[in-house]
Amino acid sequence: MTRDKALSLSIRGLSYALLDRSKTMRPILDNVDLNVREGEFVSVVGPSGCGKSTLLNFISNLLPVQSGELEVLGAPVRSFNTKVGYVFQQHALLPWRSVIENTELGLEVKGESRDERRARCRDVLAQMGLAGFEDHYPSEISGGMRQRVSLARTLVAEPEFILMDEPFGALDAQTKVLIQEIFLQYWERHRRSVLFVTHDLGEAISLSDRVVVMSARPGRIIADHVIDLPRPRNGEKLRSDPRFIEYHDLLWSALRDEAANAMQVAQ
């Protein structure tokens, strides 16, 4: 089995609490254990506010570890690692840069030559269906296109481990399906390790090798299911597959109580 493969991510007992406005410690993450093997696609689902974005921020070094152990690509996290790509919940494009200039940001920071990075960006943008839009500004393209630019910017840097925070969350249903297909194709060709946060169970099942469920805040891992569906996958066909529906029910039953809890906590 793939169990002996190297780990892209290994989290042991990660906890996090912060002082809230009334000066009491509020736990956000509670003893999280999570592994992602090399080349594995893992999705995280959980109620809103359970700490999913916070978890990704730890992995990317945006937050310093408070307690617990965290290893990314075989080493403890001490600085920003350009082998880790992060697709933010917001598309985070620089409004004064054109599509291609946004896409090349990471390569530019690394000091790659202009000609080389332009060629690579053109290539990835074409794969994302953005050929012909290289010189448009973010204000001139649709929300779905912005999201694809943000994805292209991460993929063009060829990260070994990709963090994705609800990258398709803000899209309408049709656009979402199209972009999922594009990304799925890309992923099945390159097989990078991915940790993918989403609210959409169908999305999680159709993309992932494994789906983990987090509890309402403070976030813990409460379920971990291998999605044993053949690849290459076709999102649309998959949805009528009986096993897809089984997985959906399984995950939903784990999630439902937590979602209800989260709503109550919020009230």
Binding site: N61, L62, Y86, A92, P95, R97, V109, S139, E140
Partner: protein, 261 residues
């Protein structure tokens, strides 16, 4: 709104502006000619134009205007450079920013034109005192604007730059600086008239040349026409600067939709 109706609107705006201006001038002139207004107090467009022509051809106006402009523009230039640099230091370094912020704001609360007599005492009645006064009026608003521009940077974008491995320098040049460009331009637009005010007030206090000096001399002679003429010239010159800044800004912000520049 479609392009045709927008260009239609633009034409309507232009024509209305032109009609208003011409209407105002004609009304002023006619009321002066019919004796409805007293030319000793309010002059008339024709008199002002004649005064302008005479002063222009005799070389008086160009000389005085040159003096005032060099004071104001030099004050604006140095004030902008220093203000932008200070604003950036304040915006980038949280510690330095927190320490000196109250001092800066206190300075900003000082009615700086009131410093005029003191500055003239220190620096004399020549170029230096007017330049210094213009500078002192410009530097604080420039600084505050740049400071705000840096602080308004979207934290998500800061995180983006960090995760792609950008150094502090790269973050500054690729994110913080471009993010403040709109703030820099709105500060420049306010500052050009501040710089003119500084130069003119300095000239009022004591000077041997400049638009302020012209106005002061004409006031001594109770000559309203000779007071209004340089005033209007200065207004038009300052207005031209403002339009230039707007043009430059629109060029630099070409990535924004036209109605959000």
């Amino acid at each position: 709104m479609n392009a045709a109706s927008r260009s239609n609107d633009a034409a309507v705006i232009r024509i209305s502006q032109f009609v208003t201006l011409i209407g105002f001038i004609i009304l002023w002139e006619v009321s002066a000619r019919l004796g409805l207004s007293n030319v000793t107090w309010t002059s008339s467009p024709f008199r002002i134009a004649a005064e302008f022509w005479e002063s222009l051809t005799s070389g008086e106006l160009p000389r005085h205007l040159g003096v005032t402009l060099s004071e104001a523009v030099a004050g604006l230039a140095l004030g902008a450079v220093v203000g932008i640099l200070l604003g950036m230091v304040l915006g980038v370094s949280r510690l330095v920013g927190a320490i000196i912020e109250p001092f800066i704001m206190a300075l900003n609360c000082l009615p700086r034109v009131a410093l005029g007599p003191l500055i003239v005492m220190y620096l004399g009645i020549g170029f230096a005192s007017k330049f210094a006064l213009a500078f002192s009026l410009v530097v604080v608003p420039m600084m505050i604007n740049v400071f705000e521009g840096i602080r308004s940077t979207d934290p998500v974008l800061v995180n983006l730059l960090r995760t792609v491995g950008a150094s502090r320098m790269q973050t500054f040049f690729k994110l913080l600086l471009p993010n403040c460009i709109p703030w820099i331009f709105s500060a420049l637009r306010v500052s050009i008239s501040f710089a003119m005010i500084g130069a003119i007030v300095g000239e009022f206090i004591s000077a041997r040349a400049g638009i302020g000096y012209m106005i002061d001399t004409a006031a001594g002679a109770f000559d309203v026409t000779a007071m209004l003429m340089p005033l209007i010239v200065l207004m038009l010159v300052t207005f031209t600067f403002d339009r230039l800044f707007v043009m430059l800004r629109n060029r630099m912000l070409h990535w924004r939709p036209a109605d959000q520049r």
